[in-house]
Symmetry: D2
Subunit: 414 residues, 4 copies
């Protein structure tokens, strides 16, 4: 192993499994390590500090390992200076571009450290011509000639300041330490999430909902509507299906709303699904349908009435789609990114596709709860880098009902 | 196909899939059929009537097919007279014994039809020496020389009088027409079950709960305790685990109950699990532990205080077990059977093992709701013959919480 | 109920549950029915015939019910003549447009019946100015002024000629009668699918694969590669992820392919994922990467080398994406439609999103097997109208391995 | 915190998460800790060593914490001498009995350490009158007056000598590092398990199979039969269902075996299930049925013919049961324990109940693979203390088919 570099990391390295992941990753990348120093915090509130020397056969491989370790908050002891190369073409990064994490990050250019704007994982870091600013950019948006940070030198990743899950005295938001399970005191979890939402609102931050059509199918639409009216949903990210099913159940209420009120399941693929979409296309947009008095209730209606923002991004299985839907997914990602500033809490309900899409662009510092009856959704989210995801495996219908019961005074489903 | 017999059946043959299953089963048993008559009810509340002639290569096979079709309510046009043979040994039926369904059944001996007592599937029918009575008996309990009905002649199966799921005007208890799904309006389902429980109580019938330990793990113990105190649980069937976890969480409340109240998951296999069991073994029984003031709260405590019956049947994975647990499963089945008279409604929560065990001995006429976050539990129950099972795929914790909220005045989890 | 119409239907109405669904749907749409005639086939190979009069409060509702019943193959006894209206705007159908099924369909204009080209569900039917041709069109593609069939009159749906699942003597492809389950003889199912693929190829038809990235994660990439080389994959529909993971595992084979060969799981979100995408973006396209010698193995390489078609349609969670990916999902749907002619069999492996997308545009007459370890994928596909879907709940890795073992002479994973 | 004790532990404390669990448990039991010493192994093959002082409010609580930490291999620095108390009654331990782990354990009585026989979790440790021997005993089997080790002093737990999962150079049996997932290279896993079985046989150790009825339903019976005949199954633990379904499919082969060969699913609750059981009851036992020529093939037949041992333990949902079934679950556990000596490898297939039951009594040092299509089975097994469990989430039918293909020369399902 010819090439070596020493990195350091600090924090709750043992109890949160950080150090174990660092060691795993070195081995997985065919590198080797030796631990030079490991100062363990004496008590459980103390942080630990470690230094380890990583070695690899080639300098390229070493560089890749170092970049990988930065996703765990390990930074080179001698940070060096960031190397910049121009993007060779529109939509293409230089081969050895630095691939970002979703943590706050800094780059070092002329001796000083500069914050990178808009933490987002799997992006490149662009530096302005005058070296005055740095920001993340997805590969699809890079322009030929823009300066891209390459290699792992001169980049520092700042792990979350406070261990979100492990400080019992400072937080009541630690309910999933120990993994994903449906065998948990759910009523209590709902109450904790409700309290968290109140805190977020009190701080003036936005609450982002990411939702799938099961919200409508499980009868939770009314509860979400009440939560919107009460101010507990500032932004919604969803696909065509959530909006279309919501609108369908409101447009065809007299004859077919029977379903939801009598408790029949809603068969998929009904012709009124596509008929509802055609209706909104006739109106021109969801907002126009509200203005024209065509759409009179439901989730989307509440968003329009309360002047809240929603970003609907389509998928290949969509019917229609609704006129508000971004059919270009890259455009949709851009619209989602644009709606993120100010978001202080994200709750993802019953959608794997849009949950992962949001996880991809969300900074790690934004707390994130994923609610689904299917544990795989939560697991995948965490696997893909949204390590801050807290999973609640539960029934969507009852969850939203209880959340509305906690947050909306006098809420009672008629 | 040398051997043939004509059967008839009546009821909602098409919309409930009964006739399709009859045809399937004939073919699956290598028989053949021809439909002699099919009178379709003109409207959806009308019953249909069908006659079909079934044929098979051998008389033994024909007899097996006829017995099989009786499970769907198809009876021979010419019923004949029941054939009786003595059991050859204790615990052994004659080879061609009639295997029962869980529907009400009659046998014909001397020209008249006689009711078979205790409908239960997969049993034999025993006739008293004087031919005055007939009853079901599991194979393990038959004594040498007892008279056992053999073959399919002289036996009539009575399908349920009223199609439980399909009459919209007469019932509000039809919420699962269309299969098992987690995408349903759950809050509404809870309300329908609550109303059904009130009706059952008003009729003076008993409510049977069948439960697994997830009731405790999901924090639903308090809700079930409240429901017991309010009179909504007359009998509980469970295993060692539900009782042991309930008792453990009550005995070790001060130091370890932290778990449930703070929302930590409960790790399995903790030594206090076995310690709780040892404590109750020291007391002699759960009731003794209540009397001695050792056990002061929880589900089992509420059952003892309210003088309700519980039957705990062990399994091979049990620790201990608690002194109240039947370690012999056949003895346990007998104790469960003995507790069934008067039960007018069964609710099964978070246990596949005890749900299927109860489904095995429960007459088809007792309505049965199966609540689980895992669809497989409900599906298996229906597959194994409990066709009346209505499945609710939801979160146990929130389900019990909402059910208590509906049924217990002033219920609010502190 | 003022408005009434008589419909007829023919086929295996009882054993396949068709008639039960017809009755269900009438009631669900708040209509009523009376059965005028029901001629039951005497033997299980005989078809049945039924006539029923459907009534509703309004003519609009009646029309909607009739349109709905056509999805089950029920057609008006008096077909009438199709009513045509011009599309009011680009991308908008007239309000009462006829919404298509995925069955073969005919329209009647001047007394004669004319075939509708390109069966696809949830579309409109466009008729040419000269009334000489009719074809399906999704709402997004309609132009202002095009003639759209409205209402249910003058439209006939032709159910599948041969009951695909129920004729034991003529077909060995009936393995899922009785619902979705993981408890089936899987080795046998693989053999049946293999035989079916041989038959399809022998008939000169194309085999369409729809796949998700789990094909790569489960190590099934080599098996699929072998199947492609042997000619058992003519078209692939997938997303960015399948192609990106396939390419990543081939590009980074030396240092990181260790994973797949040693049996480690592949952690998601690794930086080499985005690095592999950037590499292909640098080359310009997947085919260019093959030509330039950059990409030397794997699924996508085999497709390029064998000059087979693939359609990659993006989703909102995509990184990059690869340059070959349609980022506009409506464009992607169009590309998928264009690749369908000649497809005689579709196999969908480990992807819910692209399976449903393909099910949306696939005619019902194309046999379709859905293979997934998650039963929900198969169930959703069938729920959404792909009634012909045959589900195989199994492990993707072992499934592909065994399929290659059956179809590729000498196949043995080294 | 008045009471304190110092413990030490050694091994791969960080990368295997051991130390994190130790810290978690202290806090969960309301204790506190300070880390006195932490020597980290420099390289990934080096062991670490830690000393920490644990404190608690009461001596009872401290004792409980210490006992808990021993499950992770942490032992008191000053071990003290074991305290012995007589069992107060048959079936009851003294209140503060030492509750065992499934690791090798030693007790210290007169200055020297003595091995505890039969490692098994959740038991007590009994010491002979003459202090010459010590062994584990479940609470149900203790007799009044037997000497039981109490408190945590004088007991030492020996963690597994070699970290089973993390030493890449010495073992090829490490395939589940990183959690349970269905997205793994399954063909490779099968090959690794096959190799492991060959090694176990070569060492002269026994292979234990624990199986559920899905083995029969998925058509894997033939594969298991071939493996038994080849010597790859020395002991089987199962319930009534596996044996009954296996026998049923063999007894009714001509007329009903159609199911398995044609690929139909096997409906549950068929009357021939109970008929098959009655047949074996007539014969007297499974072995008698084989001798009498009644049972001529299948899994159980192969076990009898090869003179291999099987232990069938009943459950409350059993029909019949078969005469060989232990209806008393505690007797069944004893029979299972008696069959364990010599077992060097355990493979658990498609049964949660019997897998957990076996996990309860199996020493941690016996490698254990759990194969199921349902991840919950594997997760529960690990949660309940069988930390050595390696999970394979796959299809049972294809798994057994491929395993037989690897191990049985010329195996090919006809």
């Amino acid at each position: 192993m010819e090439h070596a570099m020493t990195v350091e990391l600090r924090g709750h390295l043992i109890d949160q499994g950080v150090f174990a992941r660092v060691m795993d990753d070195v081995l997985e990348y065919s590198g080797a390590y030796s631990i030079d120093r490991f100062d363990v915090g004496r008590h459980h509130t103390d942080e630990s500090y470690a230094q380890l020397t990583v070695s690899a056969e080639t300098s390229e491989l070493l560089e890749r390992i170092i970049m990988r370790l930065q996703t765990h908050g390990a930074n080179p002891l001698e940070p060096g200076v960031a190397s910049l190369k121009p993007a060779p073409r529109d939509g293409v990064f230089p081969e050895d571009f630095y691939s970002t994490t979703n943590f706050d990050t800094q780059v070092r250019l002329n001796g000083g450290w500069m914050d990178v704007e808009n933490s987002e994982m799997d992006c490149g870091i662009i530096v302005s011509e005058d070296h005055a600013r740095a920001w993340t950019l997805p590969v699809s948006d890079v322009k030929e000639g823009e300066l891209v940070v390459c290699g792992g030198e001169g980049v520092k990743v700042l792990p979350l300041p406070e261990p979100a899950r492990r400080s019992p005295e400072s937080s009541n938001f630690e309910f999933m330490s120990g993994g994903v399970s449906s065998e948990r005191p759910q009523a209590l979890q709902v109450r904790q999430i409700a309290q968290h939402m109140r805190d977020v609102k009190a701080r003036g931050e936005k609450i982002l909902w990411v939702g799938g059509p099961a919200i409508v199918h499980t009868g939770a639409g009314k509860a979400l509507e009440a939560l919107i009216n009460e101010g507990y949903a500032d932004v919604i990210f969803a696909g065509n299906a959530l909006a279309a099913h919501d609108i369908e159940s409101n447009l065809f209420g007299t004859s077919l709303g029977v379903d939801l009120d009598k408790g029949h399941g809603v068969p998929h693929g009904h012709e009124h699904h596509i008929r509802a979409i055609n209706k909104i296309r006739t109106c021109g947009s969801i907002a126009a349908a509200v203005e024209q008095g065509v759409l009179k209730g439901g989730i989307m209606h509440a968003m329009v009435k309360n002047e809240k923002e929603f970003v609907l991004v389509g998928s290949v299985r969509d019917d229609g789609p609704l006129p508000d839907v971004y059919t270009d997914v890259i455009d949709g990602q851009r619209a989602m990114r644009a709606a993120l500033p100010g978001v202080g809490f994200a709750i993802m309900v019953a959608t794997m596709l849009h949950s992962i899409a949001t996880g991809n662009i969300l900074p790690a510092k934004v707390p994130l709860v994923s609610v689904d009856i299917n544990p795989a959704t939560v697991t995948k989210l965490a696997d893909r880098g949204s390590a801050q995801a807290i999973g609640v495996i539960t029934d969507i219908g009852l969850f939203c009902e209880q959340l509305a019961g906690e947050l909306v005074v006098g809420y009672k489903r008629e």
